[in-house]
Every structure is written in structure tokens, then in C-alpha cells.
Symmetry: C3
Subunit: 277 residues, 3 copies
């Protein structure tokens, strides 16, 4: 069938669909999405990434998405429905990149899982024949994303969904600013960035990545100066703050067996400055 | 095998079991249920509808159930364990309706997913040979519902579970009152109903459905009067309240990118009056 | 293949992997674990036990684990990642006991699901060829537990993972103290124990088990004296406290349709004394 050829072909689909939403766990919304998928693609396996993204928080949704997506098999269909514009003129995109398929509103969230040049194919999802027969204006997760994801997981080509269209919105972590400065006769690297996420453990994750071959002299966040880079949370005394490189490769501030976000009063958006010797 | 014939036959089971409970996500209770099912029906696929129904809240459980159930394939076994009467004389029912099977205590929750005349078969679940060997008085979800659901998903006929028995309790949304009234020389439809649920987004869902061919003149809720019906949340200015028809077909009050329940102080049980011109 | 023989052999694996963590549901951490498993063992079925164990709370994690594990099919791989020592010198153990396999840090949590003499095989997980190629110091759930669990579910023998090593840490419920005392000319059994968990319903679970053939005369907890043992929550008047034997066989204090932990101000660690006549 012509529709199933091209791009990441049917033969390379993993049969896995992942779901990231801001639907929460108190209602039946996620289940309705899964019911549609179970009806249309009985053999697809649905894996939850997260449903507790704060409502409409595209930034946090994107960071959480990016932390999980790389670990799934190639040919997975990754669906993100953090969609304050549902029912308005905003577009839905199906994007093929990095060997997998991403289905999301054109609200920038794609930027967290693929760079512009990694996109191999990108279309606007418009082929109504792949939607539920009646499409509400308030729940495209169920009426559009779910049936389209089911078809993609079953091998439908991205190109069958609509006309080519690149993402027009592009969210991404703010870029840190790096400069080399002289300090006490030495040249050090100074990175200025910010806290981009506090996770469920209270760890404050920044947008900084460690430069190669240098050691952390200090990290300043809020009124706090922390010295040295640790490898693991348990290397600091219990209750003590520490800096380490977290599981996504970013510098983060933690408290061993505690919650840095509360103990150190760190919030998303707070400025951080790291000095690498 | 005689037991597996009749009603929704084995051949028409989808192999899917859905679970709705008030067990929460902090304990191992849901997992114990899934372990029993995995032991007895290894090929069944279990899909969570919701486990965060407030303890013993049959009404909310039923509304959430009704929002998801219609989207699952025919032949699915839908299990609801919101069961304050566990271990007492309350009955457990297995009901065949609308091409699927519902397993729930006889506490009225069935009323949200099937009408009386849609019930094709209904039995009291009493056949102990399908329960776990030891049945506790406090956890029928694990000891009765799970093994019975596993057998139903594998093709056991509803009739094999016990004697015919219709539901004796019947919860349902309160019926709104509709009347046609003269106003300024015109005849308008006035619906009086109430808020039946506030969802995870803070949207306040009512028991009203829009009459065909009329437009919403006003909706009064609390001290608030809202005018006109919107199609999508994003059609109102950010932070502004609006009225729309939500994903289950009911009139709901929302705030674009906000939480209506808090911003407008709306609660379950609050009266609403809609006037349709 | 020699590696897949011995112990609970490949032929006896259920293909089910269960996950218990303190990762919470707000991040993508659980999904990253599932992504790794889906990549390495596409046919394994992953079932969540609980991800809302309070951070680093090995005791609660163990109790929740123990409440679910016995209900899974033999040959299941049970993974517990409540791991404050991640990245430090703490060991990871793979333990074969009771016909299943347990993968957990050597922090005592194994003690809740197997006794010392039930352990048939126990190794330290050290074979790096079964880990992800790059192992972070902060997220062994993803980089070590997930790939090892995938291999175990696919039939890898426990012995292939590393050298024999018994658990060195052993958490377990505190043992209650039982004595027989004379009271009013009769001999009664007096059990002194404590509250070990308050569950999502607010039920306060103790470490006491009822002695056979005796009836509960009284249970004292805090300033409260409760008389008689009930079978089911609904046997007490609404809002009234009661004592019963809960679903794991332990004595618990509940309030019918209420929350004992709040209503009676009961907390983990509170002493309880039961007198059995």
C-alpha cells in the first residue's frame, strides 16, 4: 500500500506508542485515549511517559519528554498532548526524526526532542479519514492524536497524514552564556544559565553542561555558593547540598536524602553561575 | 464448554480489562489486582481507567467511568471497584450491556455506563470456584474482582458466575429540568441543572446538554452570568471564563488557561441555569 | 547457552517485570526505565507496583512490595529501586527466592519479600555487559536495573550477573512482643507492636497478626481503646473506628468511610497493645 511506504516504514515500527500529557490522573481522559488506541491498534503497546505535566506547561512537558524518549526503541510513536490551543487554529504535526515519529501540537514542544536538521519528514496532520468520525473541539487527544497514533504504530506513513509543514514554533532550553575570564592570573570558564526544572526528588536541574576537561570551582545559585562537583547524591553528608551532573547530562543541585528545591529555595528561572577551572 | 457459551461469547472478547478504583497510587493494592490477573489470564491486557477516585465516591467514579468506557473495543471487561460495602452483604454484579461486560458492586455505579434497557444479562457473582482460594473480607478487588475479570476476559460467560440478578441500586446524574418560557416576547428554553464534576483542569462540568438548533443566551452559576457558547477553550481571552460543550457532550464552565473551579469558586452541587434562545 | 541455565530457568520466566520505585509520577524517570526494557525485551510485560514510595523510604517500599509480590505469577522479575545510595559503593543484588527473581539495592528491602532461608541464589550484579553502555552515577534504575531486568525476563540466569553474595542488610517489620498474662483470673495474650504503615484510605496497619483461636478483647493505640474485631469496614457505623485484620493479614485500625490516620491521629511508629482473650 503506497501510504505505508516512505520514511520510517511500517517494517521499522516498534509497535510502541508513548503518551505524554497534562491530563492528570484524576479523570478518565488518558483512558479514553488508550481505549481508542486499543480499538484501532490492538497489538500496539502503550507506555505512559507522564500525565502530570502542569496544565499547558510546554516547557516542562518538553524537558520530561526529552528525558525519556531516547531510551525507547527506534520506530516508536511518541505522542505529546500539552495543548492549550486545542480546537483553535493551531496545527498538529507528525514529525519523523531520529528514527522515530513524534506527534504533537505545533507549540514548540517538538524542539525538545529533535533539532531542526534531524527532522527527516514533517507534515501537518489533516487527513480526517484517520480521525474519529466525530471530532470534538475540546479533546483532540482522544479524537485526533489517539487514532492517528494507532495508525502510525500500525505502519501508516507520516506523509499520508497531510501536507509537508515544518514546525513554526520551537521551544528549547534557554542557551547558557559561556565566557572565558581571567581570575587571579588563571583563565577560567564561566557559564551563566538558569534552573529549568525541579524534579520529583526536589533536585534543581539547570541548563548547564560541564565543559570537558575542567573541574567545577564553584556554582552560585541564589545566595548560595557550592564548591566542587560530586558524582553521586550519597557522596555528600546527609542533608548537605551538592552539585553533580544528573541523568540527562545537565548540572543539577541536590541535597543528599533531602529536597534541594525546598531546602535551598530554588525555583525554575533562578539564575546560576558556574565557574570551571 | 457450556459455560463459555451464551451472551457475549468468548469469541467476541477483546482481551482487554479496564480498571477503575478508589485505591489510589500510593499502595500496592492496584498491583495485587494486576498480579492476580497476570497469573490467571497472562494474555489479557489491563488498562487503567483511574485509581484516584476519592474513596467511596460512587458518583465521581461513575462519571469518570462513563467518560472512558465508550472508547474501548467491544468485548472489553470493565471493572469498577469503588466499594465502601466490601465484605458486607452487598452484592457484586456482572452485567452484559452494549457489547461489553461490567463487573462492579451493586452500589449504583453501573447506572453510569448502561441504561436499564441496555442490559442484556445481569448476574450476581457468587461462584466461589472463580475466586481466589482464600477470600478476605477487606479486599475483594484482589480476591474476587480480579480472578473473575481474568476468567471473563478469557471467555467465561457471565451466566456462569451466578444467578440472574438485576442491579438494585442505580446511580445516575441528576436530571436537569427543562421548560420553555416567554421572555421579552420570545420563547426560550430554560434548563436548570447543577455542576456534577470538576475535572483535573478545573473545568466545571454540568449535567446539561445543549438542545439542538438553539444558541446559548446565558448561563448563570453562583453569582456569575456567562454569555454565549464557545467551541474551544482558546477562543476566550487568557484568564477569561467561558462556556462550552465538553468532550462528553455536557455543558461546562472553563477558564482559558486557568482553573474555573478555583477562579470562579464553583463546586459540585452548585446550581446552574442555562437559557437557550 | 550456559548463562541461561541453572536456577529459575528461562523456561520458567513469566515474562512479567514489576517495578517499585520512589521516582514519583511527575517526571520521565519511570518511562526511561520502561523504554530501556521495551528496547531490550520487547515481549516483556511491565507492571507498575508503585512509584510513589516516599523518597528513600525503604521500609514503606518494602511493605508495599510485600503486599503485591505474592500475587504475581512464578518466574516474575520484581524490581525495586528505592536507592538513596545510588552511585556509591552500595551493591545491587539479584536474588532468586520463592520461584521468582528480585532485583534491588542491598539496602534491606529484600527482607520484606523473602526470608533468609527462602533464598535459593543471590548474586551481586556486576556484569557490565548487561548494563547500558554508559552508566551514570545518578540513575541506575535506567542504566543498570532496567537492562538487567530485561535480560532476566528473557531468561538470563541470576548466576550470570555476578559473584554469589547474600544480602548484608535486612529490613523487616519490627517484631511484636507477645506474652501471656493473668487478668481477672483468666490468662490472656498481650501483643505489643506498632503502626507500620498508613495506607491511601487512611487505614493504620500494625505489625500484629491475630493469634489463632482467640478473640480480640481490646486494642489500645494512642489514648484510644477499641473493643472487638470486625470482619469488614462496613460493619461499624459510618464514621466509627474499628479494628480488623486487613488484606495482608495484619491487624489494622480503620474508620468506616473515614480516614483513621487523621480522625484518630495515628502515625507510623505509634505503639499499639492488643489483648486477646
Amino acid at each position: 500500500m503506497a501510504e505505508t511506504t516512505g520514511g520510517v516504514g511500517a517494517g521499522t515500527r516498534s509497535g510502541v506508542i508513548t503518551l505524554l500529557t497534562d491530563f492528570g490522573l484524576d479523570d478518565g481522559y488518558v483512558a479514553a485515549v488508550k481505549g481508542v488506541i486499543a480499538s484501532l491498534a490492538p497489538d500496539a503497546r502503550v507506555i505512559d511517559v507522564c500525565h502530570r505535566i502542569p496544565a499547558h506547561d510546554v516547557r516542562r512537558g518538553g524537558i520530561v519528554w526529552a528525558s525519556a524518549v531516547p531510551y525507547f526503541p527506534p520506530g516508536t510513536v511518541h505522542v505529546a498532548v500539552v495543548d492549550p490551543g486545542v480546537g483553535t487554529a493551531r496545527r498538529i504535526l507528525a514529525v519523523e526524526a531520529r528514527g522515530s515519529i513524534f506527534l504533537a501540537p505545533d507549540n514548540g514542544i517538538i524542539g525538545h526532542v529533535a533539532s531542526r536538521r534531524e527532522i527527516r519528514s514533517s507534515v501537518e496532520v489533516r487527513a480526517k479519514k484517520y480521525f474519529l468520525p466525530r471530532v470534538s473541539a475540546t479533546f483532540h487527544g482522544r479524537d485526533v492524536f489517539a487514532p492517528v497514533a494507532a495508525r502510525l504504530a500500525s505502519g501508516l506513513a507520516v506523509e499520508a497524514l497531510g501536507p509537508p509543514r515544518r514546525p513554526t514554533s520551537w521551544d528549547a532550553l534557554p542557551s547558557p552564556r559561556r565566557r572565558t575570564v581571567a581570575r587571579g592570573g588563571r583563565r577560567v570558564v564561566e557559564d551563566r544559565g538558569e534552573i529549568v526544572l525541579t524534579d520529583g526528588f526536589g533536585n534543581a536541574v539547570t541548563n548547564l553542561r560541564p565543559p570537558e576537561g575542567r573541574r567545577l570551582e564553584s556554582l552560585v545559585a541564589g545566595g548560595l555558593t557550592l564548591r566542587g562537583l560530586h558524582r553521586a547524591y550519597g557522596e555528600a553528608p546527609e542533608g548537605a547540598p551538592l552539585v553533580l551532573v544528573g541523568s540527562t547530562g545537565h548540572v543539577e543541585i541536590a541535597v543528599n536524602r533531602g529536597r534541594a528545591s525546598e531546602a535551598l529555595q530554588l525555583r525554575v528561572g533562578d539564575r546560576v553561575t558556574a565557574t570551571w577551572a
